[in-house]
């Protein structure tokens, strides 16, 4: 505990210094951190005012997650029942049940006070691949594979001026999936002179360019049953869509209610405007 307080304090101090100290005489703007290219903006079915998830795509993305990502990445907020929920992959309840039952889940204690294992139920959460963070780090070269639950909303990149203002009008909220898609396709040979640290992999879109995760996807790694191309490009696109749904499971409902609210508010504003005109018609103002 003492150790924790000590390190907390020194980090606190570091943050404080960083936040309040001046760069003083430095004249150059940061170069290293800004050298990461912006992820290209992809076209997503869930973008825009009428955005919705492509069921087949989210189902394929789930398959990629299940067969590839979930061997290292947890998703502790992801419940099996979500698979059958409206607005997502929309598997049938029977299918979701089958997925749940393919896992052994620890439950208990029972009447004898013992923990026991049983097949998963719809109400269970997706079992994590590692029992704790330390175990996850130990198996992944010291890096902690981030939890997928809200990851698609936890990743972004700087849009810059004036683009960030146009994004209000364009309703751009897909930084996360764009970044994830770009990252999964961003593994390259390092440029001349760039030394990738031990255990790292060069990635164009990862801040600092050295990522511990080895290229996770390769062509024909996951067998699609619907005839979609079995390429890294397609896998990454599908899994990014799945992650967006996982992070924002009520996205469709939100945009649908949003449209209805907008219509209501605009009509209401119109009525109020003409009422106001009528009330004020004899008063110059």
């Amino acid at each position: 505990m003492n150790m924790r307080f000590a390190s907390l304090r020194s980090f606190t101090l570091a943050a404080l210094t960083a936040a309040t100290m001046l760069a003083g005489t430095g004249t150059s703007f940061a170069q290293d951190a800004h050298a990461t290219p912006k992820p290209p903006r992809e076209s997503w079915t869930f973008a825009g005012p009428f955005g919705h998830f492509d069921r087949a795509q989210v189902q394929r993305g789930f398959q990629v997650f299940r067969e590839v990502c979930s061997s290292c990445h947890a998703a502790h907020l992801f419940a099996f029942r979500n698979l059958a929920q409206k607005g997502g992959p929309e598997f049938s309840e029977a299918q979701a049940k089958t997925v749940a039952e393919s896992f052994k889940v620890q439950d208990g204690p029972n009447d004898a006070g013992d923990m026991f294992e049983r097949p998963g139920r719809l109400s269970d959460r997706w079992p994590s691949p590692f029992p704790n963070e330390q175990a996850a780090r130990a198996s992944n070269g010291g890096a902690y594979p981030p939890d997928f639950s809200v990851l698609a909303k936890a990743r972004t990149y700087e849009v810059g001026f004036p683009g960030f203002l146009f994004d209000i009008v364009r309703q751009y909220q897909e930084q996360g999936p764009d970044y994830i898609h770009a990252l999964l396709n961003g593994y390259k040979d390092p440029p001349e002179g760039f030394k990738v640290p031990e255990g790292g992999h060069y990635n164009e879109f990862f801040p600092g360019h050295s990522i511990k995760m080895p290229p996770p996807l390769s062509a024909d790694q996951v067998t699609y049953t619907d005839g979609s191309p079995q390429t890294v490009e397609q896998y990454s696109r599908d899994v990014a869509a799945f992650m967006m749904w996982l992070a924002e499971p009520h996205l469709e409902e939100r945009k649908r209610i949003g449209f209805m609210s907008m219509i209501f508010l605009i009509v209401f504003a119109g009525l109020l405007y003409f009422t106001k005109k009528k009330i004020w018609r004899n008063v110059e103002h």
Partner: protein, 417 residues
């Protein structure tokens, strides 16, 4: 308060009640008969919009508290529980999170309007000061609210801001430990911030009552800055101001809904979807957008205590604006020089806001220093001197005269609806 009509109940039951507690009469004189200048433009609807936002934040907040758990190990997931499992929880939370930003957008417009039209001048000094107090309370409430989801920005924002108090000599470290409830930002900090985040909005509501009371004593300012002189200069609050405010509010709600339904995470920071981790510092610790101008000032001063004092002074100076502005003329519409300086100052504030979101290095720091100095020069030098040297335009004799003159020539700027 003199109104266009006074409230005389006909109903015997109401008569009985009114003679014991004149509540309906108070509402009638405050929101129905209350005389408002006939020339108010749409910038004056933001008072009503702010009241609406306060109610909206309190109602959505009360519902959120029913599902939120203020504990470092549970807070993040309880917010996600609201987003995923609570019926329309996503809607309530997005309304509350974006509502805070909308509240600040409205308050900034409201304050800029007051500064443009000289609404802080006698006899409205107390009204203005109460407004600055509300603004301060809003800043504290917004800050503590941002800490509650216990994401990375929550934690590190709380760390940076609470650490500011350590800059004060002697008592600084003690104050910080007292704020934290320990030796670092941890569960006790979260618990007290949660408690205060629930308390402060009701204090805001209390000061809002005083603010409206003071408003109804002095009466509203108006775009000409000339006080109403005859009953012809005013119209009763209902239906005239009521319908105009209602229209303004619904237009504002359209803007609000755009954010809630289509870009709900635009105003937040992605890092706050990463659970708080005391061992990992984010690359850039950025406060919410509405603190950015002050954050830029804080970082413009090479000394920690100096930075903190500069930042607080930037708000404190607002309390003295009624006395720093020496001009006899209220409205910028009749102050050609002040009008220009006002917009330069607005541009400086926006510039500081942009700089606050940038890393504190190189050219950004130099620009930040220039704008910080200008911010204070505006209040401490330009405002007092302008009143002495500026030649104001001819102020109309009355509101009615101004309105009729405009109706005839239609030449004056489009400040009216």
């Amino acid at each position: 308060m003199s109104g266009h009509a006074t409230f005389e109940p006909k109903n015997p039951a109401l008569k009985w009640f009114e003679s014991r507690l004149p509540l309906v009469g108070l509402i009638h004189s405050s929101f129905i008969a209350y005389p408002t200048p006939r020339n108010l433009n749409y910038w004056w609807t933001f008072g009503g919009i702010l009241s609406l936002m306060l109610v909206c934040q309190i109602l959505s907040g009360v519902v959120l508290v029913m599902h939120y758990t203020p504990h470092v190990t549970l807070a993040f997931d309880s917010v996600e529980h609201i987003m995923r499992d609570v019926s329309y929880g996503w809607l309530i939370r997005y309304i509350h999170a974006n509502g805070a930003s909308m509240f600040f957008i409205a308050v900034y417009i409201h304050m800029f309007r007051g500064l443009y039209y000289g609404s802080y001048k006698a006899p409205r000094e107390v009204l203005w000061i109460l407004g600055v107090i509300i603004y301060l309370l809003m800043m504290a409430t917004g800050f503590m609210g941002y800490v509650l989801p216990w994401g990375q920005m929550s934690f590190w924002g709380a760390t940076v801001i609470t650490n500011l108090f350590s800059a004060f000599p002697v008592v600084g470290p003690t104050i910080v430990e007292w704020l934290w409830g320990g030796f670092a930002v941890d569960n006790p900090t979260l618990n007290r911030f949660f408690s205060l985040h629930y308390l402060l909005p009701f204090m805001i509501a209390g000061v809002v009552v005083l603010h409206i009371w003071a408003l109804h004593i002095a009466g509203q300012n108006n775009p000409t800055g000339v006080e109403p002189k005859t009953p012809k200069d005013t119209v009763p609050f209902t239906p005239y101001a009521t319908i105009k405010d209602a229209f303004g509010m619904v237009c504002f709600l359209i803007f609000f809904a755009w954010f809630v339904f289509y870009i709900p995470n635009y105003l937040g920071h992605a890092d706050n979807y990463i659970p708080a981790n005391p061992l990992v510092t984010p690359a850039h610790i950025v406060p919410e957008w509405y603190y950015l101008p002050f954050y830029a000032m804080l970082r413009s001063v090479p000394d920690k205590l100096g930075g903190v004092l500069t930042m607080f002074s930037a708000i404190i100076v607002l309390f003295f604006v009624p006395w720093l502005d020496t001009s006899k003329v209220r409205s910028a519409a009749y102050r050609p020089l002040y009008r220009q300086f006002f917009w330069i100052w607005v541009a400086a504030c926006i510039g500081l806001g942009w700089l606050g979101s940038k890393p504190a290095e190189g050219g950004y720091v130099i620009a930040g220093r220039v704008l910080t100095v200008y911010y204070f020069v505006h209040f401490l030098i330009i405002l007092p001197l302008l009143g002495l040297f500026e030649k104001p335009k001819q102020v109309p004799a009355s509101i009615t005269e101004a309105v009729l003159a405009k109706g005839k020539t239609a030449a004056s700027p489009a400040t009216t609806a």
